[in-house]
């Protein structure tokens, strides 16, 4: 028996080492390690069979000479060990799924934009994002999600962003609590696609929903806590998100005022809070309908800071089935000026996009619009906080389920620039993959 214990300990150590190796950074050897792990798992299963056979023999009285009480204790001990081996395998299955996943995209484009505020549009080839994320499965209830994004800025330098660093605990399907930096769960697009260019049908995001430094006017990232879950309901599947965290701040970066998620905390106490509730009706497969809201106190970095009570509510509908993908989101703002006394300012933004997949080819179209009150310091302070309208036509071709080639043409009517309002065309091509 002592030898068996030693063998089991060695096997457990080998399996543990295999698990650590598999979760390690040398992912190029994953396939070989998985094969090795499978072999070791198979040896463990054989060991379980041997132990089970021993249990059976003991139960059948093969060791009748031993005292009955002693025999009973040995049988129980063996059963416990077999059970523990089973639990160990279960845990390893959960843990061994730690793979590095990600997205990458490259492309080329032409932009006819030319105005005093945003300058001349870019032309030529470009590198998009390299986005890497890990979802280590640590035990049955501990969740973790880490995402690192590399992107080339307009100055040509490569920036690395810790996009997400969130650790969570799943109490049940109805409640998982996260802590850290996460994609703010407003609407649909921001959490469904974010940096996953290959995931989204279109080449571009709606501009007002883009990242804070790329044209977005909403806080796409929050540092704080997030409660989410879903439960079956009479009408279908109901899900929700409740979140709160540091209020974002409008700060100047590379000469542009954009939203900063304040990942290192704030000196004052200003917070963001929001909700998102959705229903997937059982009667219509592929449909999701949702409502969401966000409230925050945002200030900018002017010498006499402008402070705004940001209040946003919205709704969305998504249909993804029968070769169709239809997305529509609407955002309504009722922002109150807290520092200048100019009162309440109402603005709105929204988009609707539809695509239909004919095999590997998906043509799509999108209309988007943002009417942003320029008396509202929340928008006025932001570099991209100007009204616009845009029409987009595109074609996606799936070279593989994990690789897409996209062509997109957009016409933008840039407003709120006074006499310099600009109407321009853009054409872009993008090659994107996920892995």
């Amino acid at each position: 028996m002592g030898g068996e214990k030693l063998n089991i300990t060695r096997q457990s150590a080998c399996l543990g080492l295999a698990g650590i190796l598999l979760a390690g950074p040398a992912l190029a050897d994953d396939a070989a390690r998985i094969r090795e792990l499978e072999k070791k798992l198979e040896r463990s299963m054989q060991r379980i069979d041997e132990l089970s056979a021993k249990v059976q023999r003991l139960e059948q009285g093969a060791t009748a000479a031993a005292p009955a009480a002693d025999q009973e204790a040995r049988v129980e001990a063996l059963e416990r060990r077999v059970g523990q081996l089973g639990d160990g395998i279960s845990r390893r299955v959960l843990e061994d799924n730690t793979l590095l996943r990600g997205f990458a995209d490259v492309g080329a484009g032409y932009s006819g934009e030319n105005n005093p505020s945003f300058g001349r549009g870019r032309k030529g080839f470009g590198v998009g994002n390299l986005d890497l994320y890990l979802t280590p499965q640590i035990g049955e209830r501990v969740r973790s999600l880490v995402e690192l994004n590399f992107e080339v800025g307009e100055d040509g330098h490569t920036d690395a962003d810790l996009e997400r660093a969130q650790l969570g605990y799943a109490f049940s399907d109805a409640a998982t609590v996260w802590l850290g930096r996460f994609h703010t769960p407003y609407g649909y697009w921001n959490t469904a696609y974010h940096h996953g260019a290959q995931l989204q049908t279109s080449l571009s995001r709606p501009r007002f929903l883009d990242f804070e430094d790329r044209g977005g006017i909403l806080p796409a990232h929050t540092v704080g806590t997030w409660l989410s879950g879903s439960v079956p309901a009479a009408a279908g599947q109901f899900g929700y998100d409740l979140y709160g965290g540091n209020a974002q701040r409008i700060e100047t970066d590379a000469g542009r005022r954009t939203l900063n998620p304040m990942a290192w905390g704030r000196r004052d106490s200003a917070y963001t809070a929001g909700f998102n509730a959705w229903l997937e009706p059982g009667a219509v497969d592929g449909l999701r309908l949702g409502l969401h809201g966000l409230r925050s106190t945002i200030e900018d970095d002017a010498a006499a800071p402008n402070r705004t009570r940001l209040a946003m509510v919205g709704g969305y509908g998504v249909y993804q089935a029968n070769h169709w993908e239809v997305l529509a989101e609407y955002f309504q703002f009722g922002n109150r000026d807290l520092s200048g006394g100019s009162g309440l300012h109402r603005s709105r933004a929204g988009y609707a996009q539809a695509g239909y997949a004919w095999g590997a080819v998906t043509p799509y179209a999108r209309l988007e619009s943002a009417r942003l009150d320029q008396r509202d310091s929340y928008f006025l302070s932001q570099y991209y906080g100007r009204s616009y309208r845009r029409g987009v036509l595109g074609l996606r071709y799936d070279l593989d389920p994990r690789a897409a080639l996209k062509f997109e043409f957009a016409n933008t009517d840039q407003r709120d620039l006074g006499a310099a309002n600009d109407r321009y065309n853009e054409a872009r091509i993008q090659y994107s993959i996920r892995f």
């Binding site: 279960s90 299955v93 799924n97 730690t98 994320y133 499965q137 049940s172 469904a192 079956p232």
Partner: protein, 129 residues
């Protein structure tokens, strides 16, 4: 004549194969309703009581299972799990390659639930499809 008989036999065999039943099986610790299987394999249901569920795919009969039970084609199924993993940090089910591997895995893994194309004998059958 011999060719025709061979063709008929092959057709009959193929037809039998096409009509073969599938079985969703689970570890003895798993107590879920048949209608919950779709939710489990799309990541919407990850717990059965206090027990974390461990769904496992069977590469040998995955297409049939996805079509009949999950009501998705493999591409959409993979896309659903990619989005699930990206948004919620949930790992997709591991893929095993045969009925025997799935039966062994389910028998030995608390919380496991999988599916096979052959009669699993005395296994804990949740759903026959």
């Amino acid at each position: 004549m011999a060719i025709r008989k061979t063709f008929l036999a092959a057709s009959a065999f193929a037809a039998l194969g096409a009509q073969a039943d599938g079985y969703v099986i689970a570890h003895l610790t798993v107590n879920v309703a048949p209608e919950e299987v779709r939710q489990i394999f799309t990541g919407n249901m990850q717990f059965s009581g206090a027990r974390r569920l461990v769904p496992v795919d069977n590469g040998a009969v995955q297409g049939d299972f996805l079509y009949k039970v999950v009501r998705m084609d493999p591409d959409r199924y993979n896309a659903v799990w990619t989005r699930k993993a990206f948004r919620e940090g949930v790992a997709p089910p591991p893929v095993l390659l045969s009925d025997q591997e799935v039966m062994d895995f389910v028998r030995r893994t608390p919380g496991a639930i999988g599916y096979v194309g052959t009669n699993p004998g005395s296994a804990n059958v949740i759903l026959k499809y």
